[in-house]
């Protein structure tokens, strides 16, 4: 038996995984299977976007986490013996992937940023960042199936093809998980997706007070860009939502212009801006590592420099 499987929390992620899944399945001459437990109506949609087969997981009671599906998914994988399983690198996906990999006794490449078939046409070579982004590690799985979790936006979403056919199969309902969800608190502010923004102004701990974010916003506005932040700003200060945190544990951005304000430039952050065309930084500390990662730096106090920049960009 063989096949490529993809598993994701929602449609957006599934479409991205369908792209790489389709590519692999075609090269390996095998079938592409997508798992689905959200909106059951999506089965045909996924087929038209490249899936050959849909495995439908029955809906869960309100208080059950998707982790409940793990035994069902692992059992099915044991029976069908796919070559590869790709999952979305989301909070839920990462946990589920690790636990499924354990049940299947196989290896898992977490946060895989590139994925290629080896010369033998079978071995999947996967890349990921380690040491906070200082290094790139290449790995292969020595056991079947190869598994990987893939961050959002690593691949383009699949395009719809008319007239595609596929099978839809239902998997059995899982036993209830001992983990119960008591309450879901939705995110208060819906954050912008800045991963595709052309201009990003990013703030770090050099910003003293939450109110001062206005200064960064003004600069972003003057440039027609968006704002992002370092992890301490979203995680410790909670001044900006998680989605705006750039770096190895946040998002990657690839703008034409990135301006970092009061950011030291630790590798965990800089990893997320590697693909920016031009990197600029404003920092009081001439020796801050961000300057080594920047094309253009201004050594100065952001409170003094940013108003001047806003002025200059306006004209």
């Amino acid at each position: 038996m063989a096949g490529a499987w993809i598993i994701a929390d929602n449609r957006e992620q599934t479409l991205e995984l369908l792209t790489i899944g389709r590519e692999l399945a075609t090269t390996m001459g095998t079938k592409l299977t997508a798992l689905l437990w959200q909106d059951q109506e999506l089965a045909d949609d996924y087929i038209s976007h490249g899936a050959d087969e849909i495995l439908l997981l029955p809906p869960l009671p309100e208080d059950q986490p998707p982790g409940a599906y793990i035994p069902v998914i692992a059992d099915e994988a044991q029976k069908k013996d796919p070559d590869i399983i790709l999952m979305a690198s989301t909070v839920r996906g990462k946990e589920m992937a690790a636990r499924i990999a354990t049940r299947l006794n196989t290896g898992l490449c977490s946060n895989c940023i590139a994925l290629n078939l080896g010369e033998d046409g079978k071995t999947v070579e996967m890349e990921r960042l380690v040491f906070g982004g200082t290094a790139v590690q290449k790995v292969t799985c020595t056991v079947r199936p190869a598994m990987a979790t893939i961050p959002l936006k690593t691949f383009e979403p699949a395009v719809k093809q008319e007239g595609r056919q596929g099978d839809i199969r239902e998997l059995p309902a899982p036993a209830p998980s001992p983990v119960k969800i008591l309450e879901r608190k939705p995110r208060e502010t819906e954050a912008k997706d800045i991963s595709e923004s052309r201009i990003v102004v990013c703030v770090g701990r050099g910003i003293e007070k939450e109110e001062d974010l206005a200064l960064a916003r003004k600069l972003a506005h003057a440039l027609g860009g968006e704002i992002g932040c370092t992890r301490p700003i979203s995680e410790e200060n909670h001044w900006l939502p998680e989605e705006l945190c750039i770096g190895i544990s946040g998002i990657s951005v690839k703008p034409d212009l990135y301006i970092g304000l009061g950011i030291s430039g630790q590798v965990q952050h800089v990893t997320g801006i590697r693909d920016a065309k031009v990197i600029c930084a404003v920092n009081t500390d001439e020796n801050a590592p961000i300057f080594a990662a920047a094309d253009y730096g201004i050594v100065g106090n952001l409170y003094d420099v940013v108003p001047k920049l806003i002025e200059a960009f306006k004209t």
Binding site: K94, A98, V136, V179, R187, A292, Y296, G297, I298, G300
Partner: protein, 254 residues
């Protein structure tokens, strides 16, 4: 009074890794540390013990070199440490680490709650916690930002993409914690001195039920490159003008 187990990893401090002239990684001047988020895990275990009583055992798998991390870990408050070490454990991958941990924790340590960091600062695979739970056959709640013990259950707030999930699970249970759960202490002098008096249980490879083969193989490890212009300006009006002009030339302003 829960028995709490906390897992930590002794890792290379990535800030000291240099890029060699031909793109290789230069580890010659590295130092080691307790992985960042494992400090949060230890802090949380100790906080809960101080609140609810019980004991905290800190467990690590590593090469014998990692012995240096034991006192550091114990100075942060755990009552006891388990040091599972062998020269061959230097570069094991997450499936092995979790299997070895499960082997030892499952057979030698009483536990109601196991706490791991969300991911280690070196490999950051974020796998060891969930894999360990699966191996032990206990529930797992990952990416937790708030944790309370309520009788024989835990209540954990978990950060997910679309918000926060408040979850509950019966003990024994495993959680992985996010850095925002607490601020790890800087151990005081007495804490460090006291660490030497705490028990360390050494566990060798032979004490394990079996050997655990890797399922993931590293085929290459290279320095990530990032070549930039590195032009620096001051903050004088002339500098600002020069800076803006440079950006105009780059064609990145609209």
């Amino acid at each position: 009074m829960p028995n709490i187990v906390v897992c930590f990893k002794w890792v290379i401090d990535e800030a000291y890794i240099r890029r060699g002239s031909s793109g290789e990684l230069d580890f010659s001047s590295v130092s080691y540390k307790i992985s960042d988020y494992d400090r949060n895990a230890i802090e949380e275990a100790v906080r809960l013990r101080n609140e609810s009583g019980g004991r905290v055992a800190a467990v690590t798998v590593g090469s014998p070199e990692a012995t240096k991390g034991l006192k550091d870990a114990l100075s942060r408050g755990p009552d006891q440490a388990y040091f599972i070490n062998d020269a061959s454990f230097e570069n094991i991958e997450p499936s092995q680490t979790s299997a070895i941990l499960a082997d030892v924790i499952g057979s030698k340590i009483e536990y109601d709650l196991i706490i791991c960091g969300e991911g280690s600062s070196d490999l950051y695979t974020q796998q060891v916690g969930p894999r360990l739970a699966e191996r032990l056959g206990i529930p797992c709640i990952s990416f937790v930002l708030k944790l309370t013990i309520d009788g024989n259950h835990i209540i954990a707030e978990r950060k997910v993409e679309d918000g926060v999930e408040v979850t509950a699970a019966p003990m024994p249970v495993l959680v992985t914690v996010l850095p925002d759960i607490n601020t790890p202490r800087i151990p005081g002098v007495k804490d460090t001195l006291m660490a030497s008096k705490k028990e360390v249980v050494n566990i060798a490879k032979d004490d394990l039920a079996q050997t655990y083969e890797p399922t993931l193989q590293t085929t290459a490890m290279t320095a990530a490159s990032m070549e930039r212009r590195c032009v620096k300006f001051g903050a004088e009006p002339g500098d600002i003008a020069g800076f803006v002009e440079a950006l105009e030339k780059e064609g990145v302003l609209r």
